[in-house]
Amino acid sequence: MRDVTYLRPRTLSEAVQLYRTTPGCRPLAGGTDLMVMLHARTLRPEPRGGAVLDLWSLAELKGVRRLGDILEVGAAEPYTGIIGSAEVQQHLPALAAAARTIGAAQIQNRGTLGGNLANASPAGDTLPVLLAYDVVVVTDRRSIPIDRFFTGYRKTALESDELITAVRFPIGRQVAFRKVGTRAAQAISKVVLAVSLTPARVAIGSVAEVPLRAHRAEAALEGGDVAGAIAAVADDIRPIDDVRSTAAYRRAVTQNVLRGLLDAFARG
């Protein structure tokens, strides 16, 4: 990593400029994914080691702001700040719940929504929550609806020189969240769900090459057919066998967790 140039812009506009003009440049926030990849050399920025663009301390990317009926979370606000935000606790409890399941204190102090989005792991813990809330991903040049953000395995709709600056959540939606992993902390999810009834949203991670919306299950829920939604979700997902779980287990757990979350909604 000695050959990776470190760039620390002072402002967002300086960051945008540097990102456009530096070949092989990778944005860096809390480093919970990128530093691992750089050290293990599973990522080798070109040319000659490339550069990291440190966004961590940019004030423009921090904080939680209320904008009318929208709650905007800065792309580089760490999960600890999200969990501790009174506005998030009041209006986006499912986001706070998801953030609390991520790693442990060390990771929550560094991990960010911008990083979770840009890394675009199908197992990213917050990503089903973002889908269930229909968030808008704000970048240095446009707004991207979350349902158009994930375009393939670890691929996103971001241009090669585009920086995520914030995530905008609508206030007033009831979303339920559940993550299933090997243990409570420091676990990569086997299945992770976020569900809303109005509008019907069933968003799931770790069951396909991207975090996905279960459209058949959502259609059934729109018609009030809970049993149909639980049956249909098995056809919406594309789980695989891997080191963390099996396709059959993920399918069964997805249906069971969806049933549990819908039962909890029914009980109020």
Partner: protein
């Protein structure tokens, strides 16, 4: 680049993209901080940046420019071990010792914020620090014994 390490102004040369862990151990010769997994899973390399516990294997050294960094070397008070460190020794909370510096720092943060944590709070505060020797019970007892 310049930062404060255990209350002392320090500086290092070279790429800011290097891991804080390596700058601490190799450049600054503060080897109390250990490397475990090197990928943010085990917590062995935990240090405090401005009072918040982080994995130093995931921090680019340039990111601590101007910050206060605390390592296990900074926990000692008046040249002697802190009460938490003594409790770890007295209660058998350290065996092979690789996880101990990180455990101490994570527990230190908890005790600074919560004067009388219960066992569940200790477990949560230490959830990012893995120990393969002790089975955790003695570590939790040691932290609880320091509740004031």
């Amino acid at each position: 680049m310049h930062f404060t390490l255990n209350g002392r102004a320090v500086s290092f040369e070279g790429a800011g993209s290097r891991r804080l862990l390596d700058v601490l151990r190799e450049d600054l010769r503060q080897t109390g901080t250990k490397e475990g997994c090197g990928e943010g899973e085990c917590g062995a390399c935990s240090v405090l940046i401005d009072g918040e516990v982080v994995n130093s294997c995931l921090v680019a050294a340039g990111q601590v420019e101007g910050c206060d960094v605390t390592t296990v070397e900074g926990l000692a008070t008046n040249g002697g071990l802190s009460p938490l460190q003594r409790a770890f020794i007295e209660r058998g909370a350290a065996q092979c010792g690789i996880c101990t510096p990180g455990m101490l720092l994570a527990a230190h943060v908890l005790l600074q914020r919560t004067r009388r944590p219960n066992a569940a709070a200790v477990r949560e505060a230490l959830a990012g620090n893995l120990c393969r020797c002790t089975g955790y019970t003695k570590i939790i007892e040691a932290v609880l014994s320091c509740a004031t």
